[in-house]
């Protein structure tokens, strides 16, 4: 595919103003193997991601595929033995550790996946308001009351401790802590694990409302159904690589509009779509990519797949990392 063709297509599918632009990010970890030898684990590789204002981007991957690290990388809270390479831009400015620390808790907010992120010894209200000077406190308090109303929380919850909340309330409190700072970009890390339909519905509605207010949302999840319900586009992770970026509406019918064979497998494995069995497992932390990462499980591979890993290429505004799909579109 030639350069200007790609450019044309980009113009066609032009999304609203880009908020976050992640290009070619890699995350690796240092670990001691035996004795004094240090090994490097490449956990996330060549990651590209764009999030626009008012857009919900779902990042879909199984546990261990590196998707949570993406959230930590954006917020600048990766652990000490990790290394982040590549470039991130926020509103056109390069997002380095210093800017991340400035924006974290200001323009970028994290909705964490569990209660563990709340301080068990601190009242809910104090945690939501955070560490502010006295003159700002009143304003924040008013803001909190408003947010509580939006999330159907009683006002007196502010005086409770985390252990006194039910699961549903805790989730809404976690949302409140991120909304008090009025963020432009929200990263939600598995906000719906093991929930029933009703609370999932509720959580997703909150995310939708946030997006309608013009915020950019990254929804990190392993649950394809959750992703499809709210997202504008879905980014699929496999073994640390993005293998496909597709529009949400393509996750429908018999899944023919999905590009990568793994994405189709995921879709068809859902109970309502046939509960179809696909063998094999996702390789973790591979060092050498001398073949396509999906080669061992793929049923449609061609000769080329056995000796090089494909790049992520753009096709009709979607992206895919697969030689077979590439070939079929070139014809």
């Amino acid at each position: 595919m030639s350069e200007d063709k790609i450019n044309n297509r980009e113009n066609v599918t032009k999304s609203p103003k880009t908020l976050l632009n992640v290009s070619n990010i890699s995350i690796s970890f240092f670990q001691y193997s035996k004795g004094l030898k240090k090994i490097v684990l490449h956990v996330v590789k060549e990651l590209y991601l764009d999030v626009g204002e008012g857009e919900i981007v779902a990042v879909l991957g199984s546990s261990g595929s590196g998707k949570s690290l993406l959230a930590h990388a954006i917020l600048g809270i990766l652990p000490g033995n990790s290394l982040l390479e590549g470039e991130m831009k926020y509103n056109g400015k390069i997002l380095d550790q210093k800017l991340k620390e400035e924006l974290r808790g200001d323009e970028i907010a994290l909705i964490p996946q569990s209660v563990d992120f709340l301080d068990p010894l601190m009242k809910i209200g104090d945690q939501i308001i955070g560490d502010v000077t006295d003159d700002k406190k009143e304003g924040k308090k008013r803001e909190m009351t408003k947010i509580f109303k939006n999330y159907n929380l009683r006002e007196d919850i502010a005086d409770l401790y985390p252990f006194q909340l039910s699961g549903g309330m805790t989730r809404r409190v976690l949302f409140s802590t991120s909304m008090i700072i009025n963020p432009k970009l929200v990263v939600a890390d598995e906000p719906t694990p093991g929930l029933d339909e009703k609370p999932i519905e509720e959580t997703l509605n909150y995310l939708k409302t946030m997006a309608n207010e013009g915020r950019g949302i990254i929804l990190i999840t392993h649950d394809i159904q959750t992703a499809v319900k709210v997202a504008d586009k879905v980014v699929i992770f496999y073994s640390g690589y993005v293998i496909e970026v597709n529009r949400t509406e393509n996750f429908s019918g018999n899944g023919n509009k999905l590009l990568h064979p793994y994405t189709r497998a995921l879709y068809k494995a859902l109970p309502q779509n046939g509960f179809k069995l696909f063998e094999g497992s996702q390789p973790m932390n591979m060092d050498k990519e001398d073949k396509c990462i999906y080669y061992d499980r793929c049923r449609q591979s061609i000769e080329k797949c056995s000796h090089s890993n494909p790049d992520l290429v753009e096709i009709d505004g979607m992206k895919v990392r697969c030689y077979v799909v590439e070939k079929s579109y070139e014809i």
Partner: protein, 288 residues
């Protein structure tokens, strides 16, 4: 954005080059361990009777021949100090090992049942409420003083922190899902203690034991200094320091200065080993 590569460099890189943290930590531990061992072994070969009395050079200032000076009987203070430090290390070693044994015993018995747990808990509270020094002096005197008295006295007062750590740790491991699962697979309490608990506790025990060392040494020296510990004819640092008091007013500063400084350095070295071991064994720091 060539990101944060700087973060991986340690501030001591001029000293250790590009060594990774684990190599560095091991190097520090073995160097310090070597120094301590050398002192202990050397002191063993210094015979007190060979530290000759020579009144011709009594109270001489530090010189090349006598780096730590000589005392009022003309004895070489360097030899006396090394001998004293050796004794301190031996006493510290015995006391830490003994207190670790007490701690492991109490820690494990606290899991036997609610009453055992209560008993251990009240015992720690009781011992915490009595000042260390007082208890050491009491035990030491009632056992007739000497090395055994002081070792028992120190051991009986220094098992508390490790016992508390172990008790908390055991409680936590015992509530973990994998221990409950183990019971469901029909494993006995003893099997679980041996296979699940002990391997997870060993790092705590090792670090806890090493960290008792400096306390033990300091306490031994101070009790001896006060005259309740080792008898005056023992070549202990506490004795040396006590004697030096009489001559300090004459301007013989080296009699107190060098032995005191050496004692401090030994204590700091043990602390260094303890901290570095902790770094090595603590999983949260292990990969940095």
């Amino acid at each position: 954005m060539s990101f944060d590569k700087e973060r991986f460099k340690s501030p001591y890189s001029f000293l250790f080059g590009n060594m990774n943290l684990r190599t560095k930590t091991l190097l520090i531990i073995s160097l310090v361990g070597f120094v301590l061992l050398a002192i202990a072994i050397n002191s063993f070969f210094i015979n007190v009777d060979n530290i000759t009395t020579n009144f011709a050079i009594k109270n001489s200032q530090p010189s090349l021949q006598h780096p730590f000076g000589t005392d009022w009987m003309g004895r070489d203070m360097f030899s006396r100090t090394i001998k004293g430090l050796g004794l301190s290390i031996v006493i510290g070693g015995l006391a830490s090992i003994l207190s670790a044994i007490i701690a492991v015993f109490l820690g494990l018995s606290s899991t036997l049942g609610r009453y055992f747990d209560h008993a251990v808990n009240s015992m720690t509270d009781l011992f915490l409420s009595i000042p260390h020094i007082l208890l050491i002096i009491l035990v030491s005197i009632s056992l007739g003083g000497g090395i055994s008295g002081i070792v028992v006295g120190i051991s009986l007062t220094h098992w508390i922190p490790l016992t508390r750590v172990l008790r908390a740790e055991i409680k936590q491991i015992n509530t973990s899902t994998y221990v409950k699962l183990s019971k469901n697979f029909g494993r006995t309490k003893l099997w679980i203690a041996k296979n699940h608990l002990l391997p997870l506790l060993i790092p705590q025990i090792v670090v806890g034991t090493i960290l008792v060392f400096p306390h033990a040494i300091m306490h031994e020296a101070s009790v001896t200094f006060l005259g309740f510990g080792l008898s005056p004819h023992e070549p202990a640092i506490g004795i040396i320091l006590a004697e030096s008091m009489k001559y300090l007013s004459n301007g013989s500063w080296w009699l107190a200065f060098f032995p005191g400084l050496s004692l401090l350095i030994i204590v700091l070295l043990f602390d260094l080993i303890g901290d570095n071991l902790q770094k090595l064994l603590d999983p949260t720091q292990a990969n940095e």
